[in-house]
Symmetry: D2
Subunit: 340 residues, 4 copies
């Protein structure tokens, strides 16, 4: 940590800051400059809580040189590969999670599950509990949805992934699902993060609507700090002023996160754009930028979907996308999907 003093800071003010640093167990080293004095803090092994110092007289700015996360940091660690059934996130493969936004009906879900398996999907998705902006919108089938998911797993052999919305249902969802998903709106729900950190299934953690990369990694740190190291991060678009897309997919986050953390990061082009005709090009770009996988919405009849229809691909479009993905994945040294 570095404490930059104001250019008119008195020597008494410098001494007072140095005293507080010593009281915290660290060593202050003042470095006088032409314009102002900077005090370096030596002896800390992690990030220092600077709030006491920031408000002291004569202090201009406190600068942290230690990142706030440690368990999820890449420094000194190998890349994590999260394995779920036959799928591996973070390795040489390029797994694809696919299925409808919500489980709406048993027969229809089993049908789409077979279709996405056929096309080469690696994991099956489908929401049983749906976070909806409006209290009047379809909220999911709940436990019945979980049972349908389990049946689809039996039928297709694919592992399943579904979202958990509150601490009350973590145990239930964890029992049925192979991957427990935390949605964007719950990325800062710290009670829920802690709770999924204490259950055994891998966690798919979506970036919040306006979360910074640092905050996404800190949310993962919450989960890992409870003992669950199997965390898959997911970029799904951030909120900007642009009005033509629901969110702005931040593909530049992928190389940055690979640089900062050992955790795998996948991309959700469906929620990012909100328009199915943008999903295919964005999915291709996600492969090319180096993402560790995709999560894509597929629905037999998007016009009749109870949620997020406009962003869902029909199964035949999805099959075409899987072919594109394989070609691009090969061109960046990766293998896509389950069937090859």
């Amino acid at each position: 940590m570095l404490i930059v003093m104001k250019n008119n800071a008195t020597s008494d003010q410098v001494a007072a800051v140095a005293a507080v640093i010593r009281s915290m167990g660290y060593t202050p080293q003042p470095v006088p400059g032409v314009q102002r004095t900077t005090i370096c803090v030596l002896g800390n092994t992690g990030r220092v809580d600077s709030s006491q110092i920031e408000v002291m007289p004569g202090v201009w700015e406190v600068i942290h040189v230690t990142k706030p996360f440690k368990l999820v940091s890449r420094e000194g660690k190998e890349r994590t590969v999260v394995r779920v059934g036959g799928a591996a996130f973070g390795g040489e493969e390029f797994p694809v999670i696919a299925g409808p936004c919500a489980v709406e009906d048993r027969a229809r879900f089993l049908e789409v599950a077979c279709a996405v398996k056929e096309a080469g999907a690696t994991v099956l998705r489908g929401g049983a509990y749906k976070p909806r902006t409006s209290p009047y919108a379809f909220q999911g089938l709940g436990e019945e949805g979980l049972r349908i998911l389990a049946e689809a797993r039996e039928k297709t052999g694919l592992p399943v992934c579904t979202e958990v919305m509150d601490t009350d249902t973590v145990e239930l969802v964890s029992e049925y699902s192979d991957i427990v998903q935390i949605g964007a709106r719950n990325m800062h729900n710290f009670s829920l993060l802690r709770r999924v950190g204490r259950q055994p299934k891998p966690v798919l953690l979506k970036r919040g609507l306006s979360a910074t990369i640092n905050e996404l990694l800190m949310a993962a740190e919450y989960i890992v700090s409870e003992g669950n190291w199997n965390v898959i991060l997911c970029e799904r678009g951030i909120r900007t002023f642009e009005e033509q897309t629901r969110n702005t997919l931040d593909l530049s986050a992928i190389p940055i996160i690979h640089d900062l953390s050992h955790l795998p990061i996948i991309v959700d082009p469906s929620h990012a754009s909100g328009r199915w005709d943008s999903v295919i090009p964005l999915a291709r770009a996600a492969v090319a930028v180096g993402a560790d996988g995709l999560i894509v919405e597929v629905h037999q009849n998007p016009a009749m979907a109870l949620s997020d229809g406009p962003q869902s691909l029909k199964p035949e479009k999805f099959a075409g996308l899987m072919r594109d993905i394989r070609t691009i994945a090969a061109s960046v040294g990766r293998k896509a999907g389950a069937t090859f």
Copy 2:
């Protein structure tokens, strides 16, 4: 609802959309234009779910003319006044909620409670459960903090306000606190919103880090739809590209919300700016823009605060602010604080 067709839409496509509208129980009225046809939907009394139509061939854009919220909408309703102890939010008064970010210690909390009461605060604040970005930061005293809050209420006669972070603790917090607060990071935690909608205490609902005004009102709609009409909204800054402030306080939201909703809206200048020297001018501006109250952080010794020290006012600064508020409140036809 209006459905704008593409300029090369066929008459079959127009007919297909009209058929879907009829199947939903509404009346389609096509309005042919020089460039394109628009289909008006007649007969709906609330917002229509448009997802089926958005993906139909020939459809260019679907435009909603009905706002998605109804219970919290101002149309046809009187302004809500939320009463807590002697305080009234949304009326002629200008109540001020004050206290430290977190309850850290019994003696210290009682001391600052008396100081803010002395200065004219209307409600006492203090966090027992703290949402923190880092799992390694101070997380609050939990139930012990709630007991200290209750003791401070006894001693000062002021009602208290504290945050609830998950559904598991709603009952406990509701028992101890006079106002139950939903923090910005939980504004989209729909399970929690529903749950506080079913307890009897007034709810202070903070705008999410990057929530639109519409989303804030929809979150309030979740609470009200469960039967609890005593919701106080709170603007606390939104996320932008500006780096000199923690968040950008969106004071333009105040007149907009007064126009759209009957609920009272207060301002939190402390979390918005993150710098105590900006809190005072922003608090003055909040009064002048027409907010229905303030929530301000006050701490005896900000340098030693376990959370959010840099944004806390010392009691004497707060007392000065209360004097400013009274003057400006009077100049916009309002009365500030409890003591006059």
Copy 3:
């Protein structure tokens, strides 16, 4: 400047960075830490260009402790008061610039000029050259508009303010106008900034659509570095994800700019909100937050205005606003307008 090395940086890498610092004429002082080494740069009197160092092997981050601007910095300087006719920006008074968005017609402009003077405005505004998003929208009357402005100054005795859009017309605008305005869309037009820095009239510099506070101050530095110290800054709203307002007025910028710079800063509530019914509360808030003045759009018949009608106040509304401003200005120790 501080150079933070990676935690696995070699001593050769540290030495190489130190050598570059010495080659720039400064003194490197390495400060070894438990995790990593930081190199402080000593001996510089201004901001150091760090681009050479940022890309060297072993360098993790370069941190500047010197702000990039110097002439406009507050450090070591008195507040600037910009005087135009009888108006003073940055002192005890609270001047108000008012008038229609564009000069559309001689008779109508003279009429509104008299009305705003009557209500207490200090400076008259009106656009002769209009930056419009669409090439098909009204672009202003050009030199004829400047002549009408001059006539209005004769008639009312108020100084006038108008925008300049390109280097070709700076001389002409400077000849006619008492304040030369740089619009938000030209805040980064560096050729234009330099050019207005070499003409004698005070400059009103608007913050760009998504400019940071630092960038606004750097744009002012461009003007001042050419010799013109009479710069009035203007906050007019920034671009965010919020859709209910055209822009988000960033009132928190006012205390920050007062802290960083000696230049006066005024507020434009009309362009920020785009809705006349928000202009009045935001104008009140601007006074209370400590702004050094206002610029407000007034039009006799907003429904017939050729540009920005929806955000214009009618003269009688403006007169009411001036009364509010006086009351609030008095409550924060200021005097508003020309007539008292």
Copy 4:
């Protein structure tokens, strides 16, 4: 255009709006609903200026169903292919513009020019006039830089591209350069847009720092409306709250722009990320998402570059990137670069 009336609008208010529509030469068609009346405007062939109507009593919202741009709209037009020397933007090829940020020195520029040609670049770039945030930073060599560019064109046979910053130098830049570039900071400099619309060379138009897609297209409309149809659009990152990257590259803009406009759109990954190690993955993603080309910064010795060193690739890295691009381009049905 549609005018949505308030739910308590009187029939007189509806009649008044209808009268204004008729006075504008269009036909009003009121469509009464359960909650409110909507008035459709019939008979317009382009976007209607709605400002008169927005402020009328009883009007709730005005909704445009006609896009504001027409010449650049895709509706009814073939895709534009912009040809410069042997390069074609918007067709089957994938051209790559490469070179240093600024022309700094004759010998060094000729050397890097040969290196990027060797690697397969299609067009040579280099700034002679540099827009810099600080007035104290290197501002470019001016006309001498233009002469060096011309010499490099002679030597390599590649066409050249350079930025123009003001109307005064358009003629000069247009004489020397094969493509005239408008930088992000000048995207809203309407005088400059008009001026480059009246010179004969193709224009490379960069998206502004926080410009919406609509605004980018409107800026292109300014150029095209003066007669110059050879406009190449460029996505270069937008401003968001994320702090780990300089800007957030908005690759979702590519399919949207292809949907809205016939103009080609290329991607600048160098300015978007500001970090050379992110440039390569983002360039790959740009090919995969369907962009019509790239513009990339290359410098022999980024550590000694006078501007934007940290984001420049060394020639050998660039050669590797060109190989990647060819593979991915082939996988999406495109041919990359000049040499094959």
